[in-house]
């Protein structure tokens, strides 16, 4: 019987969810992008409205599905649907946005029940544009939320750095 397991990439618009999935996927990433017509236009021309999908064959029977959620909060109803049954969630935060900590809070709040029974890894992107808040600020904030998650500054296009996110998630699940 074929088995499918999944990992979810979520986070702010433009944080690099699609790029991160693309670095890992065996197949071309299936995206449900549409042209943007709102404030996101300043960041990019298209955005994900339902999901991104990539997959990795683990063996003949097992596929690792990589789901990217839409970043915009108004599509949050998709977040719960996509995270159901996932191994864990990678929360990608664009550090060049006005308030990255508040952005993180939105995802922690919305994924709290899921994270409570699985795990989360936080990836901070675009730190080359803005190095504030610092990693220490993120750790301090997560500590106050009782969530000692790993936090890494990564380039979502760099396969090695995206693999660090996956590897950290596996380490957490392995010792749980």
């Amino acid at each position: 019987m074929e088995e499918s397991i999944k990992i979810v990439f979520t986070g702010t618009v433009g944080a690099g969810k699609t790029a991160a999935i693309r670095t890992l996927s065996d197949i071309p990433v299936v995206s449900t992008d549409v042209d943007v017509t709102d404030e996101v236009k300043a960041i990019k021309d298209t955005t994900t409205v339902a999901m991104d999908y990539g997959e990795v064959a683990l063996d003949e029977q097992t596929t690792l599905a990589l789901y990217g959620t839409p970043g915009q909060e108004r599509f949050r109803y998709m977040w719960e649907i996509l995270s159901a049954g996932a191994l864990g969630v990678i929360i990608m935060i664009d550090n060049s946005r006005p308030d990255p900590i508040s952005d993180l809070d939105i995802y922690l709040e919305n994924f709290a029940p899921f994270i409570a029974e699985s795990c989360a890894v936080v990836a901070v992107t675009h730190s080359d544009i803005s190095d504030s808040p610092s990693l220490q600020d993120f750790h301090r904030y997560l500590g106050s939320k009782q969530m000692p998650c790993p936090v890494f500054q990564v380039d979502a296009r760099d396969r090695e750095q995206v693999l660090l996110l996956i590897d950290s998630m596996m380490a957490i699940l392995d010792v749980a």
């Binding site: 990795v56 063996d59 409570a116 990564v154 590897d167 380490a171 957490i172 749980a176």
Partner: protein, 318 residues
Amino acid sequence: MVKLAIRLFDRSESSHVEMVVRQLHNRVKDGFLLTSVAEADAILISPNDPGFETLLNARKSAAEKCPVVYSDANTGRYGFFLSKPATTAGLLKLLEQLERFAADRTQSNPVPRKRAVTPNGYVTAVVEAAAGQGYFCIGNGQDSLYLNAQKRKAAVPVYLVSGKQLASRFAALIKSSPTVAVKPCPAVDYEEAASDSDFQPMDLDLLLWLLGANSHSRFDIATDQPFRLKNWPDFARLPYKRVYLKLAALLSGQAMTYTQLLNRPDVTDEDLRPFVCACAAIGLLEESEPVIAVSPARSTNKKTIEKIITRFFGRSRG
């Protein structure tokens, strides 16, 4: 003062309790402190929480953190109890009970806390210099490198480093040299080195991490003192072995002793010692009471994890 943590996954419950806590805190500011689970003396928790039994058992076995059951009815089974919905009067009564309990426990069972990992020799001076604000020169008369502690930067001769690793000469230097000295230096010495092409700029934390991982014989380890990580090391910037991820996962949510870690079948002294020394060098280790993790994570099939590790990294986790 009672250190209280709230661990309620129901958002409306959590918000309500936090509001009550804030109201009470305005009245009795010094009476209690809201803090993280790791730091807390008592944890407000739902009996439906997957980590509840673990917490309860931990307390039974070693008088650890007090679980405070947040529930509709007090069955009397669990000791401390806060009735739903929380009120300031109910919370105040609970805090008085917890204070009495903490005072009794301190009297009957004082826990001395010692350093889990302590640098010795010149490494002490390097770590202390890095924790300061000034400029320092580290040298042995032949090789010199410079620190700008305030900006968390170092300037290191290029022949001593190789990317994110130490060159063998540096490794040999820090392992064996008895003559290394750490001295304050003028800012201009650092600036000159930093702009010299014979020197490589390096993050100070990376230098300290390499120093800790490569000179672990210069650290004393108290094998029975529990410690934990303040937070995960930044493995995107620091060199690591895969087993370090597992150690970070273990130690970020709970305190364990060196001996407890070594007793795990997947941990060897060869891996553990450099990891804890590196963490100590960059100030990530924190001594703690022997807390057992309240892990909410559901158990994941180990075969699934191995399949993912093997697929992405080519071999089983070390």
